[in-house]
Symmetry: C2
Subunit: 352 residues, 2 copies
């Protein structure tokens, strides 16, 4: 297990504590819950990989990959998508981030009594479209119904299975000093699309979620460079880019230095973040990836990414450094430098 | 697709209808929701298999199997188990019922704000124990938190992946006229254990849930008879034995005739059913299986089942008949005959 020991302000109070919204927000407390409860209880080599999916042993020459996600986004429908396509794309992306080819999806629905069937149909149709677009069938499922007031419309759990040819691993623990940090496009679109709707903010241009399945982008990237050139792939969802990079720095035992000016943000997302007092680095994305790659392959990868519809805005946003503190630092646009910490403070719940 | 067209009283009202508790109760309305909405939208050959898991194509000589279940049982803790071990066992059983060896599990938690961490720990420890007992690791997971009043403590979605050596299929569509219908033990234990707690019923003996992972029983059965002798395996969960047998009759285009006196029921379960006005044939089980098998292998299978701790009460409860109506009929203990219909009437929600 590469992950270093981590010290939290205090251990989880397993006797008298309660779940609060922070435990689901993707920041430090989420990590603490996972480590001190789930990983400790379920302990095995696969879970200890610490990625958003598990790389499993070979079965007759191919490695299996498995990833799962619960989707509880509120509201169910938002500009650019809905909980249905999000549930398909999100899990496909977790499989793709292990450099695997997603093959099959399963889905479990938890429906609240009183849910409009027309809403359910819209969600299911959106899932079906997303699955067809991705070329990955939903092969099995389950449905449960809970009483009114015991759910929130629809929750959707999706699980994806994929395969991988054997080769050097891609995972959060594989970043190396000197690697380039690539980002596939603008950040904050998904979170701000959802938040604008929740807060009834109106902008001149509607901000749309970037929800998308990234496995074909990953396939194009893998094809563009020698095997082993891509060290880490991760989609910066809950907790945003900042949290994702901190997770990787921690898993790999490295630091990073970013260039603020290189991180693409849509003007309307930037404006909304200012209005809401939010940092786009912490806002959820659902169709973007971070790739940490051998520096001499960075140019070829950027070219391959830019040639793909989902990577048109790809840029190099920084480099991996040697740092025993595992700090993610940023050269700011105004010439300073600051540490980009994990998400903390107010939780941002239910963006996925 | 072997499943015959089915006529419901009226089609789902996808424009103005709403989800009600019946849609989750495992009876006709559940089936209708699955067929008219999910299967229609996600249509593919795997989903059309109509079993509780999907049999997938060969990958390098082995067939993959995938099954998923959402668990929303209320209360979270009950005599003989809790939502945690239930979530592990339930999904392992869905994989096992395809005659596959379960290899890996994933888990997604949907936690309600305010949940006691001590309760969560108890649940997680129970999952860990169940996974270790079964020899199947939980390899990946996800956690979401929803606001108080938008969930109900804990919902758990588990997905299992298994493998199968190629050979004759085992599935709900494979029952043949003349086959024997075997049952691994008493029915109704799980549902009555939960219901007794909900209704605060007290009996002289506590009725315990039968929750158990059945894959080693299945392995013992497969080893006891020639390949191809076992045609159908199914665990009679939601909707109970009656609904499970009706599903199989429908998938295979056959009828069945059961002997009421052959169906084992614990005296305290029988007493509780009488008190509550319930028919044990419709009560959920979580550690029992139905096997529909070639008649000349039935004796060897019963012997193998009885030699396994989870099959000690195994009996032959009836036979498969030719019947274009696909009726499941029963010779009653008082000498009559009646049709054992699908679950209808009052829904029995949240038993798994």
């Amino acid at each position: 297990m590469n992950t270093p020991k981590r010290h939290y302000a205090r251990p989880l109070d397993l006797k008298h504590g309660r779940i609060d919204m922070n435990h689901g927000a993707g920041g430090r407390l989420s990590m603490q819950l996972i480590e001190e409860l789930f990983v400790r209880a379920f302990d095995n080599e696969f879970l200890r990989q610490g990625n958003d999916g598990a790389l499993l042993p070979m079965i007759a020459g191919r490695r299996l990959v498995m990833a799962t996600d619960a989707h509880v986004i509120s509201p169910l429908f938002f500009p650019g998508g809905d909980i249905g396509c999000l549930a398909v794309n999100g899990t496909l992306n977790d499989v793709a981030m292990l450099a695997a080819t997603p093959l099959y999806l399963s889905v479990s629905f938890i429906l609240e009594e009183g849910l409009l069937l027309s809403d359910l149909k819209r969600i299911v149709d959106s899932m079906a479209r997303a699955a067809i677009d991705a070329g990955v069938p939903i092969v099995t499922g389950d449905t449960k119904v809970v009483e009114q007031g015991k759910g929130d419309g629809v929750f959707i759990c999706t699980t994806g299975v994929g395969v991988l040819c054997d080769g050097p691993s891609v995972g959060g623990e594989c970043a190396r000093t000197g690697d380039a940090v690539l980002l596939s496009g603008t950040i904050g679109d998904h979170g701000i699309a959802v938040l604008s709707l929740r807060e009834s903010l109106e902008f001149e241009t509607t901000i749309e979620s970037d929800t998308a399945a990234l496995h074909t982008l990953v396939a194009a990237m893998l094809a563009a460079v020698p095997t082993g050139a891509i060290h880490v792939l991760r989609d910066p969802t809950r907790g945003g880019l900042a949290t994702t990079l901190n997770e990787i720095a921690r898993q790999s035992g490295v630091g990073m230095i970013l260039q603020e000016s290189a991180i693409p943000i849509l003007p309307q997302v930037e404006a909304a973040c200012e209005l809401l007092g939010l940092d786009p680095l912490y806002i959820a994305n659902e169709g973007k990836l971070v790739a940490i790659v051998a520096r001499d392959s960075a140019a070829a990868l950027l070219e391959a990414m830019k040639a793909h519809p989902l990577g048109k805005g790809a840029t190099c946003i920084g480099y991996v450094t040697e740092d025993s503190n595992r700090f993610v630092q940023m050269n700011t646009s105004v010439g300073g430098q600051r540490v980009v910490d994990w998400l903390s403070g107010e939780p941002m719940p239910r963006f996925c």
